[in-house]
Amino acid sequence: MRVARWLLGAAVLGGLAYLNFFVFQGPLLVKLINVSLFSSLFVLFRVIYGPSPADRIVAVDILGVLIIGLLALFGLFFDQGFFLDIALIWALLSFVSSLAFAKILEGRRLDD
């Protein structure tokens, strides 16, 4: 059972890497953006199936930081500066929402 799970994970990751880097023909930045998008997909798995509420909060926090990197790559690809503005705003809002979720999880009031 354990070996089967390892083999399944290795097959999925190897297949995604092969399809992304050898089959797909495109610019290099698009391939890197694809890797970041797959990472976001795995984090969404933890958001949906996380066994405890703290897992979901951790995954949402991590998703915010991943999206900052993704927006930086978008800014490089389209050569536009305003994606970084969105990334800065996203960083601040993700921080505030993580703190609020942590307070709610601990059982304290928001004005405490």
Partner: protein, 113 residues
Amino acid sequence: MIRQTIGMVFIWMGIAFDFLGVLGLLRLPDVYTRLQAATKCITFGTAGLLFGVFIMKGFSSFGFKALLGIVFIFLTSPTAAHAISRAAHRSGIPLAEESVIDLYQADRELKGE
């Protein structure tokens, strides 16, 4: 040309750290180890990626926004991780069965909370 190459090296390194952190988030057994792997790897990875963007774009408004993003991430991410782990421990989420010591629990029992 050399600036583009060094920036792409930093961006590759950042993407690799992001991916390894996400693997840790999927694979490790409980909340605290997941938090540790994911927060450290992804903070360092995204900061490296933004530093690569800064090297590629130089001293323009684009590059300085990337530097400001690094400062924001380094200020906010450890704070959020600390608050989440403290809240998880206080709300009674157990550690994994493989873990051997829980010093925060012992400290709280010593203080009589």
